[in-house]
């Protein structure tokens, strides 16, 4: 099979924190050009999964391949949006500085960003409608604006595979809509996106495929196939009352 068609292949991935496994034997092959939601309850290992894919957490076993190569070889083809809480927003940098950081993967050690890198960063800021704030210190932004800065930084990476950790956390409905249309545009350009998402109600509408996680892979496939009461019950464990409520709510919507 052509490695270009499998942006991400994970085989028997197990990750442990302090010897307690959080992810067991994940096997998944992600096809190209899809918008994929990773859903599951709190503590299911959603963030752990994407961190382990990028080698931020050492796997206890298994391997990860990005376009057929180990992560290190192809790291420049992966874009990352971390959780907003993962950085200190009082840090003395401007919005522009942060977005430029997305270009660093394409620069050599000690090489300065060029005019072209700045131009790319400006374009990315424009896409998320944050160009007017380019010179602001990043702490002087609302939560949704901060999230868009992170998104612009990932866009500046010009990657083929994007991993996003809760990009919708703490943003208002308008920003959420803007982000999702941006993600769809990326998908239409042949990019592959894996997005950690916590809202079941919108999951089916937003994503082509879903990856159901609860310490193990419960299912991976087209969103319509994943959205069955049985699969969701397995994913969300014993909390049946909540689950049936949500499934019903989604059913009413459809």
């Amino acid at each position: 099979m052509n490695p270009e068609d499998t942006p991400l292949e994970v085989h028997d991935l197990t990750v442990a924190y302090h010897r307690k496994p959080v992810l067991y034997g994940i096997d998944v092959t992600v096809p190209r050009g899809q918008l994929i939601g990773i859903i599951g309850p709190n503590g299911a290992g959603k963030s752990t999964f994407i961190k382990a894919v990028m080698g931020l957490l050492p796997p206890a076993s298994g391997w990860v391949k990005i376009f057929g190569q180990p992560y290190k070889t192809n790291c420049h083809r992966v874009g990352y949006v971390p959780q907003r809480e993962s950085v200190d927003w009082d840090f003395p940098v401007s919005v522009m500085d942060v977005v430029l950081m997305g270009r660093y993967g394409h620069l050599k050690l000690a090489q300065r960003p060029s005019k072209k890198d700045r131009e790319i960063a400006r374009e990315c800021l424009e896409k998320v409608k944050m160009l007017p704030f380019a010179n602001r210190q990043i702490g002087n932004l609302s939560g949704g604006q901060q999230q868009r800065v992170f998104l612009a930084r990932a866009l500046a990476q010009e990657s083929d595979l994007y991993l996003m950790d809760e990009p919708f956390a703490g943003v208002d409905a308008a920003t959420e809509a803007a982000i999702i249309s941006l993600l769809r545009e990326l998908k239409s350009r042949g990019k592959t996106l894996l997005v950690v998402h916590h809202d079941l109600a919108t999951a089916r509408e937003y994503f082509d495929s879903l990856m159901l996680l609860n310490m193990r892979l419960v299912g991976f496939g087209p969103a319509s196939e994943m959205f069955t009461a049985e699969k969701l019950q397995t994913t969300y464990g014993g909390r049946l009352t909540i689950l049936s409520d949500v499934v019903q709510a989604v059913g009413n919507q459809a």
């Binding site: 961190k51 990028m54 080698g55 931020l56 290190k72 790291c75 420049h76 992966v78 990352y80 971390p82 993962s86 950085v87 200190d88 840090f91 003395p92 940098v93 401007s94 500085d97 942060v98 950081m101 660093y104 993967g105 620069l107 050690l109 000690a110 090489q111 300065r112 960003p113 210190q137 702490g139 930084r153």
Partner: protein, 486 residues
């Protein structure tokens, strides 16, 4: 400070006999204060030049490294490392019983790295977090160092070793070799920061993201820690073990208050460090061989205090001043509003407002009302008649209309759009009226279909009324100004 008390006591006991042995410079220095200051500025003797140059270099390299420590939240790491090098200094001295800068440099660097390694080990193998690990390393290494120092003092010739200068620093004792060492370390720090600025900035801000890009995050981190160890060790002679951490943290912390760009923070921090170093050397020299460290730290802390109080954006005094002028503005606007209300009660038939009515409306005493009116006169918003009654000037009228309009539009908006009961909206409008911008007001007007009555049935002054002024208003518009009467 209590944590240090026992160590400081021992250190002080070590120092007392040493005070009698004045260092070389003071023996040939002028007796008067002015004379010594003059000597300082004319750079007559080589040891003084060394002292000054060394102190400034020290300030630069500590300022640069310190800035990264502060943004990485590793400020305490500097403290722990600087204390951890003490046993290394003693062992370096014991190597051949002289103050050989190189032997001491090597010994101290090794001890510092051992300390840093111990912190790392404690963090990764036990349940302890960084703070406990740092505290342990700081105290235990320092304790060992003090024991070794005491040992050396008791050796034959040990009390002339000059090692005590490593405790609180003595810039005057800097030799040619020490200054060379400082120059090399400062050049290294400058070079590394210039070349790898982008990498250091990214790994400080978001190390996780940096790793996903394939950057060698741990190598970068350890290179900074090594630089930190070098900076500390080469600074010891001039500023002392106990206070070198302050030179790492204080200039950087002051710079952080003044800017929100990392590159500027580095520059400002290095400059502050250099200035503190020079000032410390100066005071230490003028004050007849006082220890340099405390003076450097005092200078740095003074700079920090200035930044803390007067920084343009984050300064305590500047913020207080901004708040003060803001509350003065709000007070003025409330007085204007009250004048408007009094005029309104009289159907805008007069221009003068009686002070008693104004005081009644503002719920203040006559004296307070007089003061408020005087304040309005000072800002040309009212004129005062010979009998003391205020009348609005055109600017005053305009501002009063705007405030009343803001207040009533906001009340209307809250009751109509947010469905809040009419008797709940006044308090909120009292605050909002002072901050509504022109654009928001336009939006509110559109949203409310240019309504002209507030929820309590009072008229909302419109743009025309503001342009018209009081006189025209009472002649032509009352009742039913600001558009047709509904």
């Amino acid at each position: 400070m209590r944590r240090y008390a026992p160590f400081l006591l021992i250190a002080a006991m070590l120092l007392v006999p040493e005070m009698a042995h004045a260092a070389r410079i003071s023996e040939l220095s002028e007796s008067s204060l002015g004379g010594r200051a003059l000597r300082f500025f004319t750079f007559q003797d080589a040891s003084l030049r060394n002292a000054l140059l060394g102190s400034m270099l020290l300030g630069i390299c500590c300022g640069l490294t310190g800035a990264f420590l502060v943004v990485r939240k590793l400020a305490l790491m500097g403290d722990a490392l600087s204390h951890a090098v003490l046993p290394g200094v003693a062992l370096g001295f014991l190597w051949n019983m002289t103050k050989d800068p190189l032997a001491i440099f090597v010994g101290a660097t090794l001890a510092g790295l051992l300390g840093a390694g111990t912190v790392q080990l404690l963090r990764s193998t036990t349940r302890h977090k960084e703070d406990a690990a740092l505290g342990f390393v700081l105290a235990s290494f320092f304790g060992v160092g003090i024991c070794l120092f005491t040992r050396i003092q008791n050796l034959p010739g040990g009390n002339k070793s000059g090692l005590d200068k490593y405790m609180f620093g003595q810039a005057a004792a800097l030799g040619q070799g020490d200054v060379m060492l400082l120059a090399v370390v400062t050049a290294l720090a400058l070079g590394l920061v210039l070349v790898l600025y982008k990498e250091y900035a990214l790994t400080s801000f978001d190390p996780g993201f940096a790793r996903t890009l394939g950057l060698p995050v741990s190598i970068l981190h350890y290179s900074l820690m090594l630089l930190l160890a070098f900076a500390i060790v080469s600074s010891l002679q001039a500023v002392g073990v106990v206070l070198v951490s302050a030179m790492l943290v204080v200039p950087a912390a002051a710079a952080f208050l003044l800017t929100d760009r990392l590159a500027w923070m580095l520059v400002i921090s290095a400059l502050f460090g250099m200035a503190s170093g020079a000032l410390g050397a100066f005071f230490s020299f003028v004050g007849r061989n006082m220890p340099t460290g405390p003076f450097m730290v005092l200078s740095a802390s003074s700079i920090f205090a200035l930044a803390l109080f007067f920084a343009p954006r984050h300064g305590v005094v500047t913020r207080w001043w901004r708040r003060r002028s803001q509350s003065a503005r709000i007070r003025r606007e409330n007085t204007l509003k009250a004048i408007y209300r009094v005029l309104e009660d009289h159907g805008f038939r007069t221009e003068q407002v009686s002070l008693a009515e104004l005081a009644q409306q503002r719920r203040v005493t006559l004296e307070e009302a007089t003061k408020e009116v005087a304040e309005l006169k000072r800002t040309a918003l009212v004129t005062i008649s010979p009998s003391g009654e205020p009348a609005l000037t055109p600017q005053g009228w305009q501002r009063a209309c705007e405030i009343v309009r803001n207040h009533r539009l906001w009340e209307l908006y809250l009751t109509h759009a947010a469905h809040i009961a009419a008797d709940h909206v006044h308090e909120d409008a009292e605050k909002i009226e002072h901050v509504l911008g022109e654009n928001t007001v336009r939006q509110l007007e559109r949203r409310l279909n240019y309504a002209n009555r507030d929820p309590h049935g009072r008229l909302i002054p419109g743009i025309e009324d503001i342009r018209a002024g009081t006189a025209t208003m009472c002649a032509t518009r009352v009742p039913g100004y600001g558009g047709a009467e509904p």
